[in-house]
């Protein structure tokens, strides 16, 4: 079934059978999943209809117009954006049946146990060990930068199952039950004062072999599916002019003539132009995707936005002068969602520093652009054929 009209009428029938106003929210979401209207590009029986992904917009528009509840996708970004496609591609039938429905409805939030103190950009060097004992794996190690671990029911986890192999070969991928008594989640306070992230200590965590995703030793390949899905979903809406951080500083500039200097004016205009061009680039990428001609341009979007956010928010603090000396509040909080443009200029300046680190550092992304887009040769490597246990650390 791929026809937009047919999908629209199917959605309307569903809404007639489950009126949003008189249906319990969770019942509604579960029924929507079972009707194949959760993510139409997923297979039948797993929340979808095997339809083109682009047709989801048809369903969403009908549901939104009817005032239907959504699954609050931002609360489970890692589950929806990263765990689900991995489970779909590598999970057994039992795993798909067990995990995807409560993941999609938001009943079970997921987090990602990938990065470690000793394995950041070089993720494949990770040292968390999983040792087989009968039908179970016993896991010991430490993970870090785990957003949402304190709310998560499940985690996607990669761990080392064979240290005698080269680093990429000895890794296995698991679904990890975050309620296991060996899982210890501790908030990791950031330079903003709050703690979006956690450190997760794993001590003799027991994972049944039935919660392994993919083959033993194939975890790096499985993780590529996860990581390839870790990108900002561009599509949907076009951003208006001054829609990002530049809008905040432009507003201050217009409202506060007393703060203006010639130096700041020149820098503001330069950044305004760069922000507008970045917006046009995002819009061009969106048009390419809609036209079914995705280009390599997406690889660079995060790089550009990270730098712009940092420079613009830095200018904003400076523009504010005396007020720039102040900070709203250093209270340690654990926000469930992060709003880059929320709060004050000082917060924006500090939080945006993470934009060039999280989800791949800008330096690693430049390598990716150079090698995959421009086709430049890779640096010679010294770690490829060395057993993980013999690597420098």
């Amino acid at each position: 079934m791929t026809d937009a009209e047919e999908l629209r009428s199917r959605t309307r029938e569903f809404l007639a059978a489950h009126p949003p106003a008189s249906t319990d929210r969770l019942d509604f979401l579960r029924a929507r999943f079972d009707a194949g209207l959760a993510w139409v590009h997923y297979p039948e029986g797993l929340g979808g209809l095997g339809a083109p992904r682009s047709l989801q917009a048809v369903v969403d528009a009908e549901l939104e117009a009817a005032g239907a509840p959504d699954n609050e996708p931002r609360r489970n970004g890692i589950g929806l954006g990263m765990a689900a496609p991995t489970i779909l591609k590598y999970g057994t039938d039992e795993q798909k049946q067990r995990f995807l429905r409560p993941l999609w409805t938001g009943e079970e939030v997921w987090c990602q146990l990938f990065s470690e103190p000793g394995a950041g950009s070089d993720l494949a060097a990770l040292g968390t060990r999983a040792v087989r004992e009968g039908d179970e794996w016993v896991v010991n190690g430490q993970k870090v930068w785990t957003s949402g671990a304190h709310n998560a029911r499940w985690a996607i986890l990669i761990a080392r199952t064979d240290p005698s192999l080269p680093k990429h070969a000895g890794i296995t991928y698991f679904a990890c039950d975050m309620t296991d008594p060996g899982v210890d989640v501790r908030p990791l306070r950031q330079i903003t004062g709050e703690a979006e992230f956690n450190e997760v200590f794993l001590t003799d965590v027991r994972i049944p072999d039935t919660d392994r995703l993919g083959e033993v030793g194939d975890g790096w390949r499985v993780a590529q599916t996860t990581l390839n899905n870790e990108r900002v979903a561009i599509g949907g809406m076009a951003l208006p002019r001054e829609g990002g951080m530049i809008g905040k500083v432009a507003k201050t500039w217009r409202e506060r003539p007393d703060l203006r200097t010639h130096d700041l004016h020149q820098r503001l205009l330069t950044l305004w132009v760069e922000a507008e061009v970045a917006r046009l680039t995002g819009e061009r990428l969106r048009q390419q995707l809609v036209a079914g001609q995705p280009g390599p341009e997406g690889a660079g979007m995060k790089l550009g936005f990270a730098r712009l956010n940092q420079v613009i928010s830095g200018l904003e603090v400076e523009l504010l002068g005396e007020e720039g000396l102040l900070y709203e509040d250093w209270t340690m909080r654990r926000p469930e969602l992060v709003d880059f443009t929320g709060r004050d200029a000082g917060y924006r300046y500090l939080r945006s520093k993470g934009n060039s680190i999280e989800g791949g550092t800008s330096e690693v992304l430049l390598n990716i652009v150079a090698e995959r887009v421009l086709g430049l040769p890779a640096e010679p490597r010294t770690d490829k054929d060395v057993a993980w246990k013999d690597l420098a650390r």
Partner: protein, 357 residues
Amino acid sequence: MTDLLYSEEEEALRAAVRDLLGDHCDAAGVLARAESDAPHDRAAWKALTDGMGLAGLLVPEELGGQGASHREAAVVLEELGRAVAPVPYLTSAVVATEALLACGADELLAELASGRTIGALAVGLHRAPGAAFPAVRVEDGLLHGELTGITDAAVADILLVPAEDGGLYAVPADAVTVTPQVPLDLTRPVATVRLDGAAGRTLGDAGPAVRRALRAGAGLLASEQLGLADWALTETVRYLKERKQFNRPVGSFQALKHRLAQLWLEVVNLRAAARAAADALATGEDADVTVAVAQAYAAPVAVRAAEEALQLHGGIGMTWEHPVHLYLKRAKADSIAYGTAGAHRSALAALVDLQAP
């Protein structure tokens, strides 16, 4: 909604122009011509205009043009920039043509559209849209004065001359004295134009015509700069894959890869800005802001692309023999043409209400 993509027809046009320039404007030929007494490539111009009708893209069909738009002209300019082709396309088929469109000078438009007549607006290449420009004296109906920095005047058949009475005059080239200046950009010559009692024909008001012409020139120059920057990036990537030092391709060194990846990002951005400007000129919507944004962004990127190309080519990039200097000279001259990036940022300050202190 601004259309930032290329249509199939636009891609076909690009392929045809690139093909033609491959035959006419190879790097060695452009360099040899630049040193000769005839720096313009008349054969390439004839092929582009007579053969393909490209001088008439902005001219309506009923006046003998193609009735196309700035979007197509922008694609042509991308390819001309990629080849640093020494043809008066931007000056005659865009800037002079826009001035004539503003004046409703139908006869001259038809002549320019054919490409057999080349027109040049007698306003220095460095003037930004909206900036003041020199005008010549009118005495007893005849024009007197000297104008400098006039691009492609040496090949122009008709000069469009602003006069102090507020009019724009069409003056045949044989009625004036054109003296070539030594240009920084060897592929886009400049000249002084001296009028000693030259007779001209009034076309209309110079103010709005010049403003419109320079705005279109500035907006479409971004596409030429895109083509130029794309050549610099592509050629440098190709060279760094080939060139070996320290027993490896130099393109495998991270210090160089990051510079090229950064440049690629800027070229990707420039493509969006240039397409936006071409589309805005075609539709007339939001054109002042979009052109100023494109030109404020394009010039530094094109210059940096050429500078990076030179540096990353090492010693060979410093030679007269290698074409990279032609691109550097064009990029630097382009950064002044139709207003510097700074001039366009100043224009934006007023347009988007970010006023100076």
